[in-house]
Symmetry: none
Subunit: 177 residues, 4 copies
Amino acid sequence: MLAAFNEIADRGFEGLRTREVAAEVGLNIATLHYYFPTKEALIRGVVEHAMNRFRTTLAPHGSPDDQLRNHFRAVRKLLRDEPQLGAVMGELALRSARDPAMARIMRETNDAWHRTLRGLLRRAAREGHLKPELDSDDVASLVLATLTSMTLPTLAASPRIDQGLRQLERWLGLSSN
Amino acid sequence: MLAAFNEIADRGFEGLRTREVAAEVGLNIATLHYYFPTKEALIRGVVEHAMNRFRTTLAPHGSPDDQLRNHFRAVRKLLRDEPQLGAVMGELALRSARDPAMARIMRETNDAWHRTLRGLLRRAAREGHLKPELDSDDVASLVLATLTSMTLPTLAASPRIDQGLRQLERWLGLSSN
Amino acid sequence: MLAAFNEIADRGFEGLRTREVAAEVGLNIATLHYYFPTKEALIRGVVEHAMNRFRTTLAPHGSPDDQLRNHFRAVRKLLRDEPQLGAVMGELALRSARDPAMARIMRETNDAWHRTLRGLLRRAAREGHLKPELDSDDVASLVLATLTSMTLPTLAASPRIDQGLRQLERWLGLSSN
Amino acid sequence: MLAAFNEIADRGFEGLRTREVAAEVGLNIATLHYYFPTKEALIRGVVEHAMNRFRTTLAPHGSPDDQLRNHFRAVRKLLRDEPQLGAVMGELALRSARDPAMARIMRETNDAWHRTLRGLLRRAAREGHLKPELDSDDVASLVLATLTSMTLPTLAASPRIDQGLRQLERWLGLSSN
DNA sequence: AATGAATGAGAGTTCATTCAT
DNA sequence: AATGAATGAACTCTCATTCAT
């Protein structure tokens, strides 16, 4: 399943070949089918893994004050250290346009993420670490959009992504640190 | 070529079948090959079309003052009216991770877009329509990221994209209209 | 037709493409079909040409005495100057195994050739230029086989073909000159 | 592989169809591809088989005296009993004109054959079974050419080939038997 | 739990031929 | 006499899946 994950990251859904996956882990294709009856089942496994990886790593933790800042950093770090995860998330996002099940998963993940961000923004505002006039709902959306865009290889590779994030932090009043 | 474009939008590169494309326009596959010798050639045609469509529609024009606002609106409108273009751009973005030629095209397009945005921001600031303390380079990057994220169906479909854009306009001081 | 001839010589029947032939003479394929309704018709044209070329060039002429020697030289020269003719003859010979029409043509050509050789041998023997104890029929067959083998690229390219011919001339008592 | 061999013999390289080969042995084309990944691989298999068949059958063995005579007979017998082998060898010979790998194989085979013939001729001469004044190198070449020409269906089918061989034996002084 | 072998369905591509002009 | 466009049929090759062991 990890092999399939890497394969999707490297070649996209377009280039995912069960034989390749099996070979990568030294298994016979028939044996792979023993564990994942169909290609779709294998993909489901990959999706689960990717989502898990994404959620657990990005769940904000640590001291309540600079959770927001930390969260930003965590996203950057994750996509930098594991660019494959970004690639796979991008593939899944595109897939969700034509796969209702996938769409549901993505929507739920995004909703949860949005709620988390909004909560953080609200608490930060309440504790005076953030400009109070901001509508936390709208800002959360903007932040979400910005972070999501990092998924795309076109932007992820360019240094501009850092500029964008910096500006975002500046506007939020987080850049002091 | 338009048929191929739609096919990619609907099924992704993964699901692009020359036979399907040919059938859609009532042509024999051999005839399709008469015009596009290989599948790759057909894809190149689609890329050219998509890029053209993207660039021409988004090239800001009109009165100098609210070009920026108009540009935002144009992007929103384009992706709303032609969701396929968004889907295809997403596919191309993902492809650029494994196709150097594609990467070059995307990079150039993004660079041009970034320059355009930065120029607009600068002029707007000079004419007093924008907060002057902003670094136009960074802001342009943030705007680019936000607009790019709209490409992804996950976000494009949700109403949150509007919230994000609105917040962006507010920060820029453009929300008066 | 000459283009087709060269094409067969270069790529064999296996690699003969009407489009290629048409392109070589700057014609549209449809135009080629105007003159040669089918590929088979084109091939028939090539066969006719090749056979003609073979027969006319090899028809012994000159002084009656050393016609035989001259004939040997002519074959060598022909295959050296126009290796394509050898290649095409080889292709035709192979084709004759599965194409009765082709087989007939080859048989007739060979028969005529054999008669010619036998006639030459007889006259040479009568005039004392050849060992008289030889059976002209058998010798003609051997000569024919040797000369035919030169058609094959495997042998045609090697210098051994000359050794073989030389030995043949020696046995015939022709090597004095 | 044997099926492919026969197919080439019957229809030439020109008419070799993987589907046909698969059907002939009751296999799915995919299964054929399981064993021979490409058509070229299948052809290589056929070449190997043909060459092996040729070499092993023609390797002279038995008592040292009439090996030469036996060798002649073996060639005749082989081509008479297995005309397919002749056809395939002819195809290979033609192919060698445009396929360097094939050319190498043919050259090596011919060289080995020539060496064998020359060795036999020398020993035969030494033992007094052959006219001593003959240049074994040249004679070997002539013999090789004659035997090779038998490959071609045009000659193989005609009774003249026997005349040629007989004459050759006579000249060599082998016709006693 | 594992595998070599087999397969149906389909992919992109090629090619001689034909059609309309 | 010539051509661009079109096509049916066929080709090699691929791939997820299944079968027998």
